[in-house]
């Protein structure tokens, strides 16, 4: 008995939405960044599951690219967090509202 691909996609959707809720709710930038990681990972899961169902390697290739992108994003994001903390002495994303119009 095999698991249908849709189950995997459902899981990806659930994880993605949880990650989204995390980004929207949390004010601490570290938590926001982690939630973004969850969302990226969910997207990667959808690629893998889809690729597996089709029997092609493209899904896995895409996951590797997502991985590379996530690595770059995290490094820059964390550096920004350090700067934010240096400037405002807090990790609250709302405190860095200097761009209000």
């Amino acid at each position: 008995m095999t698991i249908p691909m849709e189950y995997g996609l459902w899981l990806a959707a659930i994880l993605f939405c949880i990650g989204l809720a995390g980004v929207l709710v949390r004010r601490d930038v570290i938590f926001m960044l982690m939630s973004v990681e969850v969302m990226l990972n969910a997207a990667g899961l959808a690629f893998i599951v889809g690729g597996a169902a089709r029997g092609s390697a493209d899904g896995q290739v895409m996951f590797i690219f997502i991985l590379a992108m996530a690595a770059a994003e995290v490094s820059v994001g964390l550096a920004l967090i350090i700067q934010l903390y240096q400037t405002f002495k807090t990790l609250d994303a709302d405190s860095a509202g200097g761009l209000n119009g």
């Binding site: 659930i14 939630s35 969850v38 964390l78 350090i82």
Partner: protein, 177 residues
């Protein structure tokens, strides 16, 4: 095998939920790592052992270690936890919760097509992935390399902690003070 999938999926969902509701950053991070590990189990089950290994090594390993370093560096400690408690009120969940729920419903609706694709077909060997990467996707590999290089340089530049001056024109005045 199937039970393994449901188990991993359940753990992934629960730990991710704990992660976004947690107040202690380190605890949340650990939950996130567990979530990533369980997702890697699903990768393994869907015939992608190489990707499962990458997930463990790079995601759960390298990237999460970066988070740990940063959390240690900032060292917000108990203060941060208390602050997070104050910020996480039930009312803040309403808007994002509804938005995410609607999004999830719509995704589910799209996936509810009456088709059936077995997921765990015979696995795709890493060699195939490698062959594809360096043939059809070679350009994107190069671009990813650029991106990583830019990420390194950007992280180095942004992460540097120097004497703050708000504006380059004010540097002189600040130095005089």
């Amino acid at each position: 095998m199937n039970i393994l999938f449901y188990l991993a999926a359940g753990i992934a969902i629960i730990t991710t939920l704990r992660m976004i509701t947690g107040t202690n950053a380190v605890h949340s991070l650990l939950y996130l790592i567990v979530s990533l590990l369980s997702v890697s189990v699903i990768f393994f089950l869907s015939g992608a052992p190489f990707i499962a290994a990458l997930e463990v090594i790079i995601y759960a390993g390298a990237i999460m270690v970066l988070f740990v370093f940063v959390i240690m560096m900032l060292n917000t400690g108990r203060d941060g936890v208390r602050k997070e408690h104050e910020l996480l009120k039930a009312s803040t969940w309403v808007g994002p919760g509804i938005t995410s729920a609607i999004l999830f419903g719509e995704m589910l609706y799209m996936l509810l097509t009456p088709s059936f694709h077995p997921m765990n077909r015979p696995g795709i060997p890493p060699a195939a992935v490698g062959a594809l990467l360096f043939s059809r996707y070679i350009l994107i590999v190069e671009l990813a390399a650029f991106l990583l290089a830019a990420g390194i340089i950007g992280a180095y530049h942004l992460g540097r902690i120097e004497k703050r001056s708000h504006h380059r024109y004010l540097k002189k005045e600040e130095a005089a003070l």
